[in-house]
């Protein structure tokens, strides 16, 4: 800088005093010339240096090394709104076309649950999900089912704690039981428009419980998980103990699973369910005398169910976005033993009753292009042969000699992760002499926070 002033002053002096210059001696003139030359050189050098430094500065300013703190992120965290829970809403609707009356249960399963099917255009249950961390220890989840006819059902409402560490996970409240594979999945994640027959007959689509669940994950490289639940026995086959102390139902389950290379993964599980049923009423149960419209029976006794489940998934390169194949199967076997009261409105005869029912399904879903999937499912039930005590030997049907079965095909299209349209056809032979061709169209849409899905 000082050089520049010096040079400027020298130039100004030269310009202002031209006559003085002429008066100067040649030696003086030479000295001035040399001095100017030196100044010029030094100035040029400095300019070059400056240019270089400017280039370097420009180059380094392109690197975001010193990233400024990003106020945009932290600013929004100041408002109370940021603590609002994640809200998601599932909208779904179905068109169902059936030939037979959907309220008729599968043959041999009249004393079980029969969730049935909706016919014609109907709004499925919209599901409102709210979840958030409560504090560092707990997370809360509520799933409210909005009934199209009005009213709100509490599907799930639980708090969960993973902060126990050591692989322990505790759930308290109302939740879908961890037994089997499909039971924990919400309806919007099902691969078919309805549940397999075995889930419909033995679990009333899916069993929910009010109680406690404790799971423990083993510290091994392979996935090994064991868990137990105790509850009031709210969902079928439980009989919802009200105004009574103690435990109404218990569940034990174990899961193992792993990857095979990068392309395949699997999970296998077994589960046990136990409940004591009290005055479980069933209407329109067919009987040996052939009472028109059936009779009303009551059952009290123990119910033990054991189940096995297996899921295997394959995807080329492990890239599930492009293509994948999923094969799953489950088997459940239920033993019931107790007292049956036949025809409460008429004969009202009570005697011993024991039966072992079972059922299984095998299904496969193939995603053949990014948005397109197709699936096939086969279902089968075995009503078993009941041993009926003497008082009712002439009243209660012990052997139906019929195995309900069904075969189902579906195809669905998912324009994005948040929407799905489905077509489903089923050939239903679950009711003796009442074969049915069933046709369903369905949409499932998800709004708002889209929680991560389970395996």
């Amino acid at each position: 800088m000082s050089d520049r002033i010096y040079l400027g002053a020298a130039l100004a002096a030269l310009l202002c005093h031209p006559c003085g210059a002429s008066a100067a001696s040649d030696a003086d003139l030479q000295a001035i010339r040399e001095h100017i030359q030196q100044l010029k050189q030094s100035y040029e050098q400095r300019i070059t240096q400056l240019e270089q430094r400017l280039q370097q500065a420009e180059a380094s300013s392109r690197q975001p090394e010193s990233v400024a703190p990003q106020p945009a992120r932290s600013a929004s965290a100041n408002s109370d709104n940021a603590f609002n829970p994640a809200v998601s809403l599932i909208l779904s609707g179905t068109y169902g076309q059936l030939k037979q009356d959907a309220t008729i249960p599968a043959t041999g399963f009249a004393m079980n649950a029969n969730p049935g099917h909706e016919q014609g255009f109907n709004l499925g249950e919209s599901e409102l999900g709210i979840s958030a961390n409560i504090d560092p220890q707990f997370r809360g989840v509520a799933t409210l089912a909005l009934d199209p006819a009005g009213g709100i059902g509490v599907e799930n409402a639980f708090v969960q704690s993973g902060a126990l560490g050591n692989g322990l996970n505790l759930k308290m409240g109302r939740f879908f039981s961890g037994l089997g594979y499909l039971n924990e999945q919400h309806a919007h994640a099902w691969d078919f428009a309805d549940q397999p027959l075995v889930y419909r007959a033995l679990w009333d689509n899916q069993i929910g419980e009010d109680g406690l669940q404790l799971k423990w994950l083993a510290p091994t490289e392979m996935f090994v998980e064991v868990g137990g639940e105790i509850g009031r026995g709210r969902g079928f086959p439980g009989t919802d103990r009200q105004r009574r102390n103690g435990i109404g139902a218990g569940v034990l389950f174990a899961h193992i699973g792993d990857d095979i290379g990068i392309e395949q993964s699997w999970r296998a599980g077994m589960s046990l369910h136990q409940t004591r049923r009290a005055d479980a009423a069933s209407d329109a149960v067919p009987d040996l005398p052939g009472t028109p419209g059936g009779v009303r029976n009551l059952f009290s006794g123990d119910s033990h169910t054991a189940g096995l489940d297996l899921v295997w998934k394959y995807s080329p390169n492990g890239n599930t976005r492009e293509r994948y194949l999923k094969v799953q199967g489950e088997y459940f076997r239920r033993k019931e033993n107790g007292l049956l009261t036949y025809d409460t409105a008429g004969a009202n005869a009570t005697g011993s009753y024991a039966v072992t029912q079972s059922g299984w399904y095998l299904q496969s879903v193939y995603q053949f292009a990014p948005a397109w999937r197709t699936g096939l499912r086969y279902d089968r039930l075995d009503p078993g042969i009941a041993s009926v005590g003497a008082p009712n030997a002439g009243n209660v049907i012990s052997d139906y000699a019929f195995n309900p079965s069904r075969i189902t095909w579906m195809a669905d299209y998912s324009p994005s992760e948040f929407s799905r349209l489905r077509l489903q056809l089923a050939r239903d032979k679950s009711r003796q002499g009442l074969d049915d061709n069933q046709f369903f169209l369905q949409y499932i849409m998800s709004l708002g926070a889209h929680g991560a899905h389970q395996y």
Partner: protein, 298 residues
């Protein structure tokens, strides 16, 4: 017998018998970075493969089991893993790696995010509120991430502080030299018009000066239909592009379709370590990315 019982009890308690720090990396690029910074001081597990779409990973049993024993989780963040990581973390029963804790590391937190949406609406497709999460395509982003990850390793494993410091310094030096080399090599790419199959390259474009003129997805995450691709093709006549880019994990059909009709090359970049046979580590990943882009110019 007592020994077996004792071993079993140890197993039950989940005690960390071996000294190496267990690191769970969500994507291969962060696994590679952790490897550079920690060498054999960590035992590393990578949750996703290079040919998997990182948006669509399932919460597989194996991931939950591995997360159970992890002491440090290294992920991209910015909602890239929103479809599976929350389930894995919840089911793992591992308090050490939950969000907010010292065992939870999000790379996107340490870099300047691009494409932060002004309007959050699913009608815009699969947009991420925190910005575009594919930060690993700009080599310069690894410097602040490495700095932060080095600090985190020291915090979790102070006994090896000197080692981590030395590794970080060595990585920084090698990486800066490499960046200078890559920038020089990539000089011919500045201002070159390209098409991207998915909005996965804003950081790469920003770094090397590529000019993205079109995407082959009508909205992020949505599959293109024939009509949409036809529209892109006709727009290319007014605004030509030199190549069409896709990440190694993506389906080749849309980019090949455009490439054939517009007579431009379809260029596959590794996108992460292992995406191409050449991309064996972080350095090789960028070497290969730039070589493939330059080859696309010819």
């Amino acid at each position: 017998m007592n020994k077996i019982l004792y071993a079993f009890l140890l197993l039950l308690l989940g005690g960390n018998a071996h000294a190496a720090l267990n690191v769970f990396a969500c994507e291969p690029e962060w696994a590679a970075l952790a490897q550079q910074l920690a060498g054999d001081k960590i035992s590393l597990y990578t949750a996703t493969g290079a040919l998997q779409d990182p948006h669509r990973v399932e919460a597989r049993p194996s991931l939950i089991a591995r997360a159970r024993g992890a002491q440090l989780l290294v992920c991209t963040g910015a909602e890239l893993e929103a479809g599976w990581l929350p389930v894995v973390l919840r089911e793992s029963g591992n308090g050490a790696i939950q969000p907010g804790g010292s065992g939870y590391f999000e790379a996107a937190h340490y870099v300047a995010m691009l494409e932060v949406p002004a309007r959050l609406d699913r009608a815009e497709g699969d947009v991420h509120a925190a910005g575009n999460p594919h930060v690993q395509t700009d080599a310069r982003n690894f410097l602040p991430v490495a700095e932060a990850l080095g600090k985190r390793l020291i915090q979790l494993d102070p006994a090896n502080t000197a080692f981590y410091q030395q590794q970080l310094a060595a990585f920084n030096q090698r990486w800066r030299t490499a960046i200078a080399k890559w920038e020089k090599q990539a000089e011919p790419l500045r201002g070159v018009a390209v098409i991207a199959q998915h909005k996965g390259f804003p950081y790469l474009n920003n770094w090397l000066g590529l000019k993205q003129v079109a995407e082959l997805e009508p909205k992020p995450g949505l599959e293109p239909g024939a009509a949409y691709l036809g529209g892109v093709l006709s727009r290319l006549q007014q605004q030509p592009a030199r190549m069409v880019l896709r990440a190694a994990y993506q389906n080749d059909r849309p980019s090949e379709w455009i490439a054939q009709r517009a007579h431009i090359p379809a260029v596959v970049v590794p996108f992460t370590v292992g995406g191409t046979p050449q991309a064996t580590d972080l350095f090789a990943m960028f070497d290969d990315t730039i070589q493939r882009l330059l080859a696309g110019l010819k």
